[in-house]
């Protein structure tokens, strides 16, 4: 596929295939178009040419909210006007889950990311690491077909970074999630992912 911004070609004839349940790292320096690729896959950006297929079905024309592709943003993008619980339940509410089932699933997810008892906290009061965990729980809650992670661990200090990287790796395996992780950190990629792809190689 190809993506252009004005006259600048950000992605030129790029192609990538990810197997079911595989966790792939996308490695490349900043400005190499990693994030752009994630945005195209999630439907936030329309490619100038090319297609996206999930399970053999073309989804290029499908709007973002019907793709069931989760996205973990670099700076979390938690909804600041909602509690931790409401953030995690957001996707469930969008797909019409009942209140009781939502609460159950939310608690399950919060336990999974190690944030038991955080449900009623305000997201603006969370530490950097806690916010990352909430973002992860929010994305995984509606069980998306694919999860895209855009530099999910930047901005943390080294120890916390390494600890979270290991946890994310475990989490993605445990939930059997197909994931694409964008990073510029080779070590992080090695910890989290099954396969490392450098964007320059695509």
């Amino acid at each position: 596929m190809t993506v252009r911004f004005a006259d600048r070609v950000v992605l030129a004839d790029t192609s990538l295939t990810v197997a079911d349940g595989e966790v792939v790292a996308l490695l490349g320096p900043s400005g190499s178009g990693k994030s752009t690729l994630l945005r195209v896959i999630s439907g936030l950006l329309v490619p100038d040419s090319g297609d996206i297929l999930v399970d053999g079905v073309v989804i290029t024309a499908l709007p973002t909210h019907r793709r069931s592709i989760g996205f973990v943003f670099q700076d979390e993008q938690l909804f600041p006007h909602r509690s931790v619980a409401a953030n995690v339940e957001f996707g469930l509410r969008m797909s019409g889950w009942t209140k009781a089932r939502r609460a159950e699933r939310r608690n399950e997810l919060l336990a999974l990311v190690g944030l038991d008892g955080f449900a009623d906290r305000r997201v603006t009061d969370l530490s950097g690491g806690e916010a990352k965990r909430v973002a992860l729980a929010r994305t995984l809650a509606p069980s998306p077909r694919i999860v895209l992670l855009d530099e999910p661990l930047t901005g943390l200090d080294r120890d916390l970074h390494d600890q979270l990287a290991a946890e994310v790796a475990k989490l993605l395996r445990a939930t059997g999630t197909t994931a694409l992780v964008v990073t510029h950190d080779r070590d992080e990629a090695a910890i989290i992912d099954d396969r490392v792809v450098a964007l320059a190689d695509l």
Binding site: A6, H65, I69, F73, Q77, F90, G91, T124
Partner: protein, 544 residues
């Protein structure tokens, strides 16, 4: 506390505060007290309570303000969104254009819609509502747009990847996060439209009076001063309660977002996006320019066809007998059109001088006083929360009997205008004065400058630019002031807005055309003054 050492002498600060204290006490507090004294007689209160007509007036005032506010917010969100989210050629020009209606005098806005709308709509509620939306959209664009451009777009993207449709994401994420700005804008628009006077005087006709118009009618036309005073005081109370209530709501909706300036504006990518952006831009330009164009067009339309007869008759190029026009003759014109321009300019310059001196001194005093300057600050802001009619009515009540029988004094009008303009002067100056690093003064002191010298070299130097801006705003405010002036004006010395209203509310095609001429002149003057201030600001920004 540090910094105390190089403070201004207390006596100088007191001297700076004194003019403002005297000014507010004499020309605001005393008039309001006179109103209250007039109002608290049993007879007038009883008369108000038994007046069925007044209930209708209050009801109309309230609902037209509500509808105007809701419509303004709904319509204003579109340009706010466009200007906050998209980058396109001419974006800055469009931003400036959107704020134009807001700097226009209310009488000009009324005249413009009178010119634009067909006769069947002239004197209708629809006309009032349209004019209110036109006038106030800038409040929403500035207020809500300012917050909108700071919302990270990825918040909406996050909602979308979690399964929210664009509309749902707007409802669940964008609108709640914009709520504080929406409420703030809505309360400002509500207060403006609740106290609408100029627009209603021109577009309402006798059938649709707001509370403001009713007060004016009772006080000046019906000689019902007691009832008018009760209504004025009641309105003061209503506005006071509304302001407190609105600030409560806003406080409840504040979300600590930790926002910082962002520029995520992007160019439209897809064809559909480009067409939408272009269509909205076009609609905005048309909506803003049409009423103004209609104003200019109507100033050239008299009887049949387009001529410059009205312009000539205003500026004295030719007598109307050489240009016979149906239904109108200048010989018995009740309004000195050309005279009103010079009167307005003279009044505006005096009002500007008064508000700059008083507001400037007060701002320096407030900045120097620190926390204890709050009382003075609040006192100066009071006229801003008071309707123009109340100010004019109070002034005329306070100054119509000895020892101050100043009704004939030509200074009362510029004083009334200065009362309205001074809060703006203070608000424009204070941020600059407060941002001056005290270390600068300390540095000046260490170089041998006395506190007064340091103040002159630093504070005064820094405030040159905001003072210039304040001067422009004060001029524009005075030029367009209508509500207070209606009480203070005297025959033969009408200001522009007064002359415009008189000409447009009298039958006669030439008189109407002359009214539109004056409205065009006033619009040009106001836009010119504000435009010059903005241009000068931009110019010195680039040099800095």
């Amino acid at each position: 506390m540090t910094g105390l050492a190089n403070r201004l002498p207390r006596r100088l600060v007191a001297a700076l505060a004194a003019p403002a204290v005297v000014f507010i006490a004499m020309f605001y507090l005393w008039p309001v007290a006179s109103l209250v004294a007039k109002a608290v007689t049993l007879d007038s209160v009883r008369a108000v309570l038994h007046d069925r007509q007044l209930r209708a007036v209050l009801w109309f005032t309230t609902w037209q303000a509500l509808v105007s506010t809701v419509a303004t917010i709904a319509i204003g969100l579109i340009p706010a969104w466009l200007l906050a989210r998209y980058e396109f050629t001419g974006r800055r020009a469009l931003t400036a254009l959107v704020t134009v209606p807001f700097v226009l005098p209310t009488v000009v806005v009324g005249a413009a819609f009178l010119a634009l709308l067909p006769d069947s709509l002239d004197q209708s509620v629809t006309a009032i509502l349209l004019a209110h939306v036109f006038f106030n959209v800038a409040v929403v664009v500035r207020g809500v747009g300012g917050l909108w451009e700071q919302l990270p777009q990825d918040l909406v993207a996050a909602a979308r990847t979690l399964g929210a449709s664009p509309l749902r994401a707007m409802r669940e994420v964008t609108i709640p996060l914009l709520a504080p700005a929406i409420y703030a804008s809505a309360s400002v628009v509500y207060l403006f439209t609740f106290t609408s006077f100029g627009v209603v005087r021109l577009l309402g006709g006798p059938a649709n009076p707001t509370l403001e118009v009713e007060i004016w009618q009772r006080a000046t036309r019906l000689g019902d001063v007691g009832v008018a005073a009760v209504l004025s005081v009641a309105q003061l109370l209503i506005l006071g309660i509304a302001v407190i209530w609105f600030s409560r709501i806003q406080a409840n909706h504040l979300v600590a977002l930790g926002l910082h300036p962002l520029n995520e504006r992007r160019r439209a990518r897809s064809r559909r996006e480009r067409i939408s952006v272009l269509a909205i831009c076009t609609a905005i330009v048309v909506a803003i320019c049409m009423p103004l164009a209609a104003l200019a067009e109507r100033s050239m339309r008299t009887g049949s066809g387009h001529t410059l007869a009205a312009w000539r008759s205003v500026f004295g190029g030719a007598t109307p007998s050489q240009h016979p026009v149906a239904n109108g003759s200048v010989a018995n014109s009740p309004v000195d059109a050309l005279g009103s321009i010079t009167t307005s300019l003279r009044v505006a310059i005096v009002a500007m001088a008064i508000s700059l001196v008083i507001g400037g001194c007060a701002a320096f005093a407030i900045a120097a006083l620190g926390r204890s300057g709050r009382v003075l600050d609040t006192g100066i802001m009071l006229p801003l929360g008071t309707s123009a009619v109340t100010i004019g009515f109070g002034l005329i009540l306070a100054f119509d009997t000895p020892p101050f029988d100043w009704r004939a004094a030509p200074l009362l009008i510029p004083l009334g205008h200065a009362l309205v303009a001074t809060p703006f002067v203070v608000r424009l100056l204070l941020p600059t004065l407060r941002s001056i690093d005290p270390q600068l003064r300390a540095a000046a002191a260490s170089l041998g400058a006395s506190p007064i010298r340091a103040w002159r070299e630093i504070d005064l130097r820094f405030s040159a630019r905001p003072l210039l801006t304040a001067a422009g705003f004060a001029l524009a405010i005075s030029l367009g002031e209508f509500g207070a002036t209606t009480f203070l004006t005297r025959r033969g010395r009408a200001t522009l807005p007064i002359a415009i209203e008189q000409l447009l509310n009298r039958p006669g095609a030439l008189l109407h055309a002359q009214g539109f001429v004056l409205a065009t002149v006033l619009a040009t003057l106001t836009i010119g003054v504000i435009g010059a201030v903005e241009a000068l600001r931009g110019w010195s920004d680039r040099r800095a």
